[in-house]
Symmetry: C2
Subunit: 203 residues, 2 copies
């Protein structure tokens, strides 16, 4: 196995943290320099036509793309500790919360970064109006997460799941996206502090 990696970009980091939380060693890393547009080359498009990172290249030549697909593959091979849920109900609720924090919070923070950060002007056809509209959504998504964490140690209850990794990375990504995290969100702050202290978070 080889992992086509994108350094500090959030999706590659989600996969590296997932490996660490599974207690698995990272495979050989193939660095792909997003700043130098290496993911937009014809060579890389043959590996992933969506031109996105990360990609896990399996020994049989299969190129597995999409962060959550890679994580799910690892979960299938190494069920313990479960990060996607242990029965149909846990699996459904983990999927629900992972999607809520990914398609809501994480994708809005990403949109702010991609469509407003000066360093992305070279890589994106930036739509500043979309950055602004996305920024306005973030408070609502943060409030939903904060309320969920008011009654739960982790996003889905008393055990860490893939939804914590997605949500935690979204919170981390607010800093370079220049979106402040309100002091009032005490549950997010407590949970994010605990998450950031885990050894996996250095991945």
């Amino acid at each position: 196995m080889k992992l086509y990696d994108g350094g500090r970009a959030p999706n590659p980091r989600r996969v590296r943290i997932f490996f660490a939380e599974k207690g698995l060693e990272l495979p050989e890393l193939v660095p792909v320099d997003i700043g130098r547009k290496e993911h937009l080359t014809p060579e890389f498009a043959r590996i992933n036509p969506m031109k996105r990172l990360p990609v896990l290249l399996l020994d049989d030549g299969t190129a597995l793309a999409e962060t959550i697909a890679i994580c799910r593959y690892l979960e299938g091979l190494h069920p313990e500790p479960s990060l996607f849920g242990r029965d149909p109900m846990e699996q459904a609720l983990t999927e629900m919360w992972n999607r809520r924090v990914e398609l809501g919070l994480f994708s809005s923070v990403s949109a702010v970064f991609r469509h407003s950060h000066p360093s992305m002007a070279e890589l994106e056809d930036q739509v500043p109006e979309w950055a602004e509209a996305s920024r306005e959504q973030i408070d609502d998504y943060l409030l939903i997460l904060d309320l969920q964490l008011a009654g739960n140690r982790f996003v889905c209850g008393d055990r860490l799941t893939v939804a914590d990794i997605t949500a935690g990375i979204a919170i981390d990504f607010m800093k370079p996206s220049r979106v402040p995290l309100s002091e009032d969100l005490v549950n997010i702050r407590r949970w994010h502090g605990e998450l950031s202290a885990r050894p996996s978070w250095k991945a």
Copy 2:
């Protein structure tokens, strides 16, 4: 069980088709009128704080939101026929393709509809620049899908999966979004014709 349903909207339809492909009868439907903003009321926000449809209300009171989370719950309870894959490799590839067609094609077509269709002006803070940028992405996503279908009867191979439902609904949604489907995409046209002829597609 009760299904909070949204009529002709694409996500409720994905779930109804999934029930049909599983050979399961639909539970009691609770119609929620999106045009009359019934999903934006405080009452509905208590069921789903994301204010989106569909929601599957379980007998124990759990409100399960997010289309794919509902489908995954049904897959867990009724594994046959599998629509999410039968082993870790199939599951990973199904997740990859479902995400490619959902986060690429379907979300771009949705963005065109939500941010440019006159009927949505009441429901959305429309960003016309985002509709335009999303429209420009669609051809690339269609080409990736067409190439995949050149060598496969269904999106993930010789069996129908949840990725076909997502992709098929995205193609259907192009019509109200006023995005034309090129005659050149012969593989998509062949596959979509076959899909539309299935009894489930009337759901």
